[in-house]
């Protein structure tokens, strides 16, 4: 273990995926009877795959005082240990983040408000600071402009980047919005005749018992106040949806921008099977994300799929562990191979993405030692070659194996008999939008902010 620590201590934290954010807002007679935090507990739990290093929650009750608590713990522990000291309120916003020290941002003046955000406004290299500046700007603009809707529209026009946010003001206004490109998702749902909910993913709406009723569109502002919902676009949207959300980040049971994540992943599995077909005896998906790819691959290629690994310990996403050591430990605990599934077989091994290739190398070696004759690796995404400017923290270019080595070279390095990525054009087909409507900067497809 010491060796690992030494080897990887220089590696920067790779774990800043993207926070999950939620806003809860009841309407009408009796609205003050709801306890928003009860719902947020389950909603935030449902978004924890997006990040679990810190949790933040802010509520607003009858007394119209904002009460906020942030802590570097997981949602469950947060509610067990901290939430008790939060004041009960009928309105609340919250986030679960992959960044320590992240949380609900509080701005006292000139307009008192709290903010949670996903992605990154182009205001500072650091996500937390960037949203802090964003919130302050918004507070000042609302004060200056007098109208919250107009103020938010002008801020979205002015601030570039890829972000979605939920802001709650002391005046009981809940402001939700996405940048003009809509890089980061934001979905809306309703419960009965009472409650409106905004969340990063529809899975959180399901878990809170809400019906999914729409998306906040790119460049759109939606404002909830006790007597109305106002909704306006600030200019023509220029859609650049994050493609990585569909491949990896979002939950399989979510719909983002009207597209089923599950459908995209099924398409990817089929596309991998059609692209450069390989003879093999079994298809194995690396849990959790690549299981969906493997099932569709198996069906398309008519090669059976088996459960390849069994997990030890509770489910956490290995990529959102903060250090390489923790990640490798996580992967190894997560991925104990099922020998019977691979012994004396030609195996097609499917994973969702490759960053440095370390964990994949370890996995291929494991399968071979358990008797796999051949291991062909298929990746459900194109090669990661560049950092994400919107907060999904990818290591520097020189640490990305896909940006530095050819597919053949990678296969030698990880000890696989063949290795291939999903071509960019196929990914576009699998999502079902135009290439111009997707952000694929991390795959080397650049576009300029207009």
């Amino acid at each position: 273990m010491h060796i690992y620590r030494d080897i990887y201590k220089h590696i920067p934290i790779f774990g800043s995926l993207m926070p999950g954010i939620i806003g809860f807002y009841p309407f009408g007679e009796g609205r003050e009877n709801w306890n928003a935090c009860r719902f947020l507990y389950y909603g935030l739990n449902a978004l924890q795959h997006r990040g679990q290093e810190s949790t933040g929650l802010s509520s607003l009750g009858k007394d119209r005082l904002l009460s906020t608590i942030n802590d570097d713990v997981m949602v469950e522990d947060f509610f067990k240990e901290k939430a008790g000291s939060l004041k009960e309120g009928h309105i609340a916003i919250g986030q679960t983040s992959p960044i320590k020290g992240d949380g609900v941002i509080y701005v006292k003046e000139p307009v008192e408000l709290v903010c949670v955000g996903d992605g990154k406004p182009d205001l500072h290299p650091d996500k937390v600071t960037a949203f802090k500046i964003f919130s302050e700007k918004l507070s000042q603009m609302i004060y200056k402009c007098g109208d919250t809707l107009e103020a938010t529209k002008s801020i979205i026009r002015e601030v570039h980047g890829g972000y979605s946010f939920i802001v709650l003001t002391k005046n009981e206004e809940m402001i939700c919005g996405r940048d003009i490109h809509g890089v980061k998702p934001l979905e809306i749902g309703a419960i009965g005749f009472d409650i409106g909910i905004v969340a990063s993913e529809t899975a959180a709406l399901d878990v809170m018992g809400a019906e999914h009723t729409g998306s906040v569109n790119p460049g759109e502002v939606v404002i909830f106040d006790p007597l109305s919902i106002r909704r306006e676009r600030c200019g023509e949207p220029n859609r650049k949806y994050c493609s990585f959300e569909y491949i990896y980040l979002a939950r399989l049971d979510s719909y983002l921008n009207g597209i089923s994540v599950s459908k995209v992943r099924e398409n990817i599995g089929r596309a991998l099977a059609r692209e450069r077909p390989i003879q093999a005896n079994v298809v194995i998906g690396i849990p959790e994300t690549a299981l969906a790819f493997a099932m569709a691959y198996s069906e398309e290629a008519r090669i059976p799929t088996r459960i390849g690994f069994v997990r030890t310990g509770r489910y956490t996403r290995s990529a959102i562990r903060p250090t390489q050591l923790e990640r490798l430990t996580g992967v190894q605990l997560k991925l104990n191979p099922v020998r019977y599934s691979v012994d004396n077989k030609d195996v097609i091994l499917i994973d969702d993405s490759v960053v440095r290739g370390n964990t994949l190398k370890s996995t291929v070696l494991d399968l071979k030692r358990k008797g796999a004759k051949r291991v062909h690796v298929k990746i459900g995404s194109p090669a990661l070659v560049a950092p994400c400017p919107y907060g999904t923290e990818v290591p520097p270019r020189d640490e990305l194996i896909g940006g530095n080595l050819s597919e053949e070279e990678i296969s030698y390095v990880i000890g696989a008999d063949s290795f291939s990525f999903l071509p960019i054009s196929k990914l576009v087909e699998c999502i079902g939008l135009k290439e111009s409507e997707l952000c694929m900067k991390c795959f080397g497809v650049d576009w300029e902010v207009k």
Partner: protein, 505 residues
């Protein structure tokens, strides 16, 4: 003479005035609706302010003016017996008598009637006189009568859409929160119902259902029930189907008699259901229904087409969708109803689609005091230039010529087209021509008529249709099955029927 002062009455007045008989149109309303007033004046008739729930006062005006017949717009005058007293004075009336209007006034009576006559399209229900009784029952029996877990809590009396809460308590982890909310709402309902007299049941608890909603409005002379094109109203106050239940924030109809998400068969079935209710209430009270009757309906998993509520009149805004496309002379229809020969009248509608959006002052529907008495400024000419029709709703023309909000939906804009989204967009352009002079906010739903919303309705309809059709094929439509560990099979329908035995409708 017409009764009532909303947008629904505005279009009724307009259609009456457009008749080939060139009638003089007289009106009574509680507020001075500027649109109706104009129509009255142009036709040579008059408009009087009058408490429309006071039958004596209403009939005094009718007698004074010597009108040929009375057309009642809203439900409250029906509940209070305006049609009854008109007929007593020899003035024919398009409007359900107070006894017939019970199908709307008492949601509990409607359910009892449906169960007593074993009609199709009904829901399980239970009524209570106090919140305490309701809470106790919900708590005690949610485990043995499992439908009580997922319920709609309603005032037992029609209250303009107010006070309805749907509590879906399927998530055990949120149960305590939902339980608490149910109790709190029950006690709110109890105190709310204190303002209504003449009704014993205060709180109605119904099984919760899901599916696409639609309104089927019909003319009836008591012998035949003739359906109009289906309309879908949007009850949630705000965008994304979020927020409080209202009287309706806007509606769509067409093309043709059904909607894109309702089949022809479902239309026919719905018409039979409404017809069966008219027949049943006539048998029950021994009176003849002549006027407008409507089913506010939903396609549900357990019953297929299902009655959510009944209207003893046109819906508002739904009246605008159907009357704007009505080709037949409304007065011919009225006389068909009055003379009991509606079957011989051919009622025709244009084939176009229609979209209606209501505009309301902030505060509607739950905080009406905030929504009242704001000056309204409208550029009607520009709205007409956009190809839309403008109808005044809850608005009051003052002596000084200013118009102020009455607290409910202040106006409704209608657009006819061959495409929903085009109609919706045209109405959106008109919204800017309506504002409040004191800067208080107005709201409306921009999503009504959008393809996005239509796609969602179709999706819900497809899902629930698959379920009820399967039940239909299996022969178990309308049945409910519960199995309770230790107790065995429980039939909530049998339980309900047993508890209704001995009770009279």
């Amino acid at each position: 003479m017409g009764v009532g002062n909303g947008a629904r009455e505005h279009i009724i007045a307009k259609k009456l005035a457009e008749s080939k008989y060139r009638p003089k149109v007289y009106w009574v309303g509680e507020l001075q609706n500027p649109g109706i007033l104009r129509i009255c004046k142009q036709s040579g008739g008059e408009y009087a302010l009058c408490k429309t729930t006071d039958p004596e006062k209403v009939v005094t005006h009718a007698l004074r003016w010597g009108v040929d017949f009375v057309f009642v717009g809203p439900e409250e005058p029906n509940f209070h017996g305006v049609p009854d007293i008109c007929e007593k004075n020899g003035i024919p009336c398009i409007g359900a008598s107070s006894k017939l209007a019970k199908i709307e006034m008492s949601k509990a009576e409607l359910r009892r009637l449906q169960w007593k006559y074993d009609l199709k399209g009904k829901l399980l229900f239970k009524t209570f006189r106090t919140a305490e009784e309701a809470s106790r029952y919900l708590e005690k029996y949610s485990e043995t009568l499992t439908w009580l877990q997922n319920v709609a809590l309603k005032p037992a009396r029609q209250a303009g859409g107010r006070g309805v809460k749907v509590v879906d308590d399927r998530h055990i982890y949120l149960h305590d929160e939902k339980e608490r909310f149910k109790k709190q709402h029950a006690s709110w309902l109890e105190s709310y119902m204190k303002s209504f007299s003449g009704i014993e049941d205060k709180i109605l608890v119904e099984e919760k259902v899901w599916g696409p909603e639609y309104t089927l409005q019909c003319f009836t002379d008591g012998k035949v029930v003739k359906g109009m094109p289906l309309v879908q109203d949007n009850k949630n106050a705000h965008e994304f189907d979020i927020g409080t239940e209202t009287g309706g924030m806007g509606s769509i109809s067409g093309p043709g008699m059904t909607l894109p998400f309702i089949t022809k068969d479902e239309y026919e079935e719905s018409l039979k259901i409404v017809d069966s209710i008219v027949k049943a209430i006539q048998d029950e009270v021994g009176e003849c229904y002549h006027g407008v009757v409507a089913g506010q309906m939903m396609i549900t998993e357990v019953e297929g087409p299902t009655i959510i509520e009944m209207y003893s009149r046109f819906g508002d805004p739904e009246a605008l969708n159907v009357l704007s496309t009505l080709k037949t002379d409304l007065i011919d229809i009225c006389y068909g109803i009055i003379d009991g020969r509606l079957s011989s009248i051919n009622i025709e509608f244009e084939d176009s689609v229609t979209v209606v959006k209501a505009v309301a002052p902030k505060g509607y529907p739950d905080f009406r005091d905030l929504a009242k008495n704001h000056p309204v400024i409208v550029d009607e000419e520009k709205i007409v230039n956009e190809g839309c029709e403008f109808y005044w709703g809850s608005a009051d023309l003052k002596d000084d010529g200013s118009i102020v909000t009455g607290g409910s939906r202040v106006c409704e804009i209608l657009c006819k087209s061959d495409r929903f989204e085009e109609a919706s967009e045209r109405i959106e352009r008109c919204i800017a021509y309506i504002r409040l002079g004191d800067g208080w906010g107005l709201f409306h739903r921009s999503d009504i008529g959008s393809l996005e919303l239509l796609a969602r309705r179709m999706d819900v309809a497809d899902r629930v249709r698959r379920l009820y059709r399967y039940r239909l094929e299996k022969g178990i439509l309308g049945r409910r099955f519960d199995w309770l560990p230790g107790l065995g099979m429980v039939d909530p329908v049998a339980t309900l029927k047993k508890s209704l035995m001995g009770e009279s409708v």
